[in-house]
Symmetry: C2
Subunit: 153 residues, 2 copies
Amino acid sequence: MDVRFVNPVLDSIINVLSTMANMTPEPGALSIKEDTHALGVVTGVIDFKGPNEHVSTAISFSKHVALEITERMLRTRPDDIDEIVEDLVGEISNMMAGGAKGKLEAEGYDFELTLPSVATGENHEVPHRIEGKTILLPFKTDAGEFFVEIRSN
Amino acid sequence: MDVRFVNPVLDSIINVLSTMANMTPEPGALSIKEDTHALGVVTGVIDFKGPNEHVSTAISFSKHVALEITERMLRTRPDDIDEIVEDLVGEISNMMAGGAKGKLEAEGYDFELTLPSVATGENHEVPHRIEGKTILLPFKTDAGEFFVEIRSN
């Protein structure tokens, strides 16, 4: 498990959602996630590739949180998870990973980021591209829950 | 020409870039743009569709501004305009249009937004989907210039 990633990712997603969606996520207790299914209905994944390591981060939103973030950021509220929401979740994944990469660089670690992959649907598989142990970080917001996963090889 | 759009679009893009990229765009003088080519190297277009009108908004960034915004928002700086930058410009177009839609709604106007189209390259055609007169709004930032177009049928 790559616990170096926990605080940078946590700080980054709180910063992104508070700045851009006027949302104050409250982190819950860390755990190990054995199941490979997503806990939300729309999930963005980005990988951090270093010289010797490969870490995959995912962010999975409940429908209500995803639609609420879309409404707050884009002033439009689709009825369901559509391409607008998927693209926005991809971009939020980018910003979460970018913020974490910046914090890790400040600590002397250098990673390349991949483009985001987005998957949707009830009970979909999280599209991690590596096998490994997964740390689960749950968050509560005024609009409901979302979940961050950090998997490392 | 649909001058209703000028202030909502202008306020929205200043808000998006100041909040998300710590950039303070200074608007220049309005003009009518006759040429159909983009003034930047990466351009996002979103349409506003109302019951009787169709307005197309574009935002076109110089390479330096596009890379600088990418670095500030995603903490990664590609060497050139790549898929990361294109996706981000699409999402900035979404946010600019979403913010303007919210302001227009507050004034009693209701529009549906389309998904963004993004085009790149030196001297590319702005991918407007309608014909009509085009208002040009130039902006200066600490990183260089960008340009907003508002075309109405």
